[in-house]
């Protein structure tokens, strides 16, 4: 690990200002992904700003009938919150599908949104990776691509967004609240929060330099049967090959997002119109522009079948 200086932030605005003013600064919350990457020198921050003491650790009801989840609410606490379990079950299920009990006790809502890809070439500093070192190339293309993206990728990067929580937040139309270095705040719809790689795969979100996530808001409960189904190489504690977050209503309409297939949670509202016709009709639209590799082509039928299983479970 490279040496770094360390400070504890006293307010969200001060933290954002310090992050913008200090070269090589990064925020640290749970640290479960950042420290992993720092040990490998994939991340080499010169300065860490600890945001744990900022009081952003509450889940509160909003005047609109939804919930406001502080950026520092731990994964365990969000998944176990009685309101989330009752009204946003897909979110609770998605969080519980990820990582281990130890990691969920540390990992935060804001940090989870910002976790980096698990592309093996991103992790290996001896390999070319446009995300880790822009302009160096992409060793994953033509390499071991089984876990990587099948849709929305580019010639520069075929990494996936690895998380589960954000896939559920995408079907729930969550919004990300932030504070910027000048103290101003803004709200980013989750659909616009994560970016596709394009020719700048190192830019993963629409956050500006120094901008700090303060909360994630969930709109009023949408009802329906809520399911998160995750397919992976072992029964627990593994990243998704494909995952499905779904909200299915009695009349067959609903919402669907896929995890494990793209650089961001993959949802197309237009594809959801086909939900009453079944899984094949939905994934045909969702994955119409897919460009799989020979190694990850299996994700296309796997996505359809995982959605079919999800819809069957919703009807049962």
């Amino acid at each position: 690990m490279k040496a770094f200086t360390y400070e504890r932030a006293r307010s969200p605005a001060e933290a954002a200002a310090a992050a913008a003013a200090t070269p090589g600064a990064k925020f640290i919350a749970g640290g479960t992904n950042l420290l992993d990457l720092m040990k490998l020198q994939v991340e080499t921050p010169a300065h860490l700003i600890d945001v744990n003491g900022l009081g952003l650790d509450k889940v509160e009801a909003t005047p609109e009938g939804g919930l406001r989840v502080g950026a520092l609410v731990r994964n365990t606490d969000l998944a176990a919150d009685p309101r989330v379990r009752r009204d946003y079950a897909v979110l609770s299920r998605a969080i519980l599908a990820g990582a281990s009990g130890q990691l969920r006790n540390k990992a935060t809502t804001g940090g989870n949104l910002l976790q980096r890809t698990r592309c093996p070439y991103f992790y290996d500093t001896n390999q070319a990776c446009n995300k880790r070192r822009p302009g160096s190339g992409c060793s994953a293309i033509g390499g071991f691509s089984r876990p990587l993206a099948v849709v929305g990728a580019s010639e520069e990067c075929i990494a996936t967004y690895p998380g589960d929580m954000a896939v559920a937040m995408r079907v729930l139309d969550a919004e990300v609240e932030t504070v910027r270095p000048d103290g101003s705040t803004r709200v980013i719809p989750i659909a616009e929060f994560h970016r596709l790689p394009g020719d700048t795969p190192q830019v993963e979100t629409t956050l500006a330099g120094g901008e700090l996530i303060t909360a994630v808001t969930l709109p009023r409960p949408v009802g329906g049967v809520q399911i998160y189904k995750k397919v992976r190489d072992r029964a627990s504690y593994a990243f998704a090959l494909v995952s499905v977050a779904a909200v299915v209503h009695r009349d067959g309409t609903g919402r669907v997002a896929l995890g494990g297939v793209a650089h961001k949670p993959w949802r197309m509202e237009a594809a959801e119109a086909a939900l009453p016709q079944g899984a094949k009709a939905v994934t045909a639209r969702l994955l119409a522009d897919a460009h799989p590799t020979t190694e990850n082509r299996f994700k296309l039928p796997l996505a359809e079948r995982t959605l079919a299983a999800t819809l069957a479970e919703a009807k049962a």
């Binding site: 040496a3 200086t5 360390y6 070269p23 479960t32 080499t44 365990t76 009752r86 281990s100 006790n105």
Partner: protein, 215 residues
């Protein structure tokens, strides 16, 4: 003939020497995106471990695991993968289990930390330790301190109503079943494969009267 103490010392010596050689090769490796300051940065932190207060001045890079093992010489918590994948370093902070390898020591100001040494002693085993012995919940024993810390915390989480991925009904109270224990313990890897005995040990402690009070 070397007694057990000498053997212990020489084994530690080998480990220290191999750690040093890793450090040397890391320094010799080409610089990746060098922007970090070259000089170590020191910071002070105070926390309580197993009921005893400690004040340390540490390189900011020191993980909680290294602070416990190398600075406080509490070597019960083990370093396996050092990347949060194996769970050998599991300790409890404020009663919650975490991977001590993926947490900076300086981020634990004022925290109450419990390691395997704080759960029980050879003379007074924690019920979970006794159950692991009884059910043969280990073979080489390297993952065992993490398994036991995790297991004690798992029963606390079930008691507190924290659901898991395999809980059929998210709104119902959590129960102690084999499926639940296997899912909740998935962050603790045992390469000897003692899993079934570990599940038996945890199940026995869960069924004992006042099991929750032990956490």
């Amino acid at each position: 003939m070397a007694d057990a103490g000498d053997l212990e010392l020489s084994r530690r010596g080998v480990l220290v020497a191999s750690a040093a050689s890793v450090a040397v090769s890391a320094v010799a490796a080409p610089k990746a995106q060098a922007q970090a300051p070259d000089k170590p940065s020191m910071a002070k932190v105070s926390f309580e471990v197993n009921g005893e207060p400690h004040a340390l001045e540490l390189d900011t890079r020191t993980t909680l695991l290294d602070a416990l093992r190398e600075h406080l010489h509490l070597t019960g918590s083990k370093k396996g993968c050092d990347h949060g994948q194996c769970g050998a370093c599991t300790v409890m902070v404020g009663g919650r289990r975490i991977n001590a390898c993926l947490s900076l020591a300086v981020m634990h100001e004022g925290d109450r930390i419990t390691t395997i040494e704080g759960l029980g002693s050879p003379e007074h085993l924690h019920p979970m330790q006794a159950a692991f012995v009884k059910h043969d919940g280990y073979q080489c024993g390297y993952c065992t301190p993490g398994q036991i810390c995790s297991a004690v915390a798992v029963l606390g989480e079930i008691e507190a109503g924290v659901p898991s991925y395999v809980s059929a009904d998210l709104t119902a109270p959590s129960t102690v079943t084999v499926d639940e224990l296997r899912e909740r313990m998935s962050g603790n890897i045992c390469r000897c494969g003692a899993y079934s005995n570990i599940v038996e040990a945890i199940t026995e402690v869960a069924q004992a009267p006042a099991a929750g009070a032990q956490a």
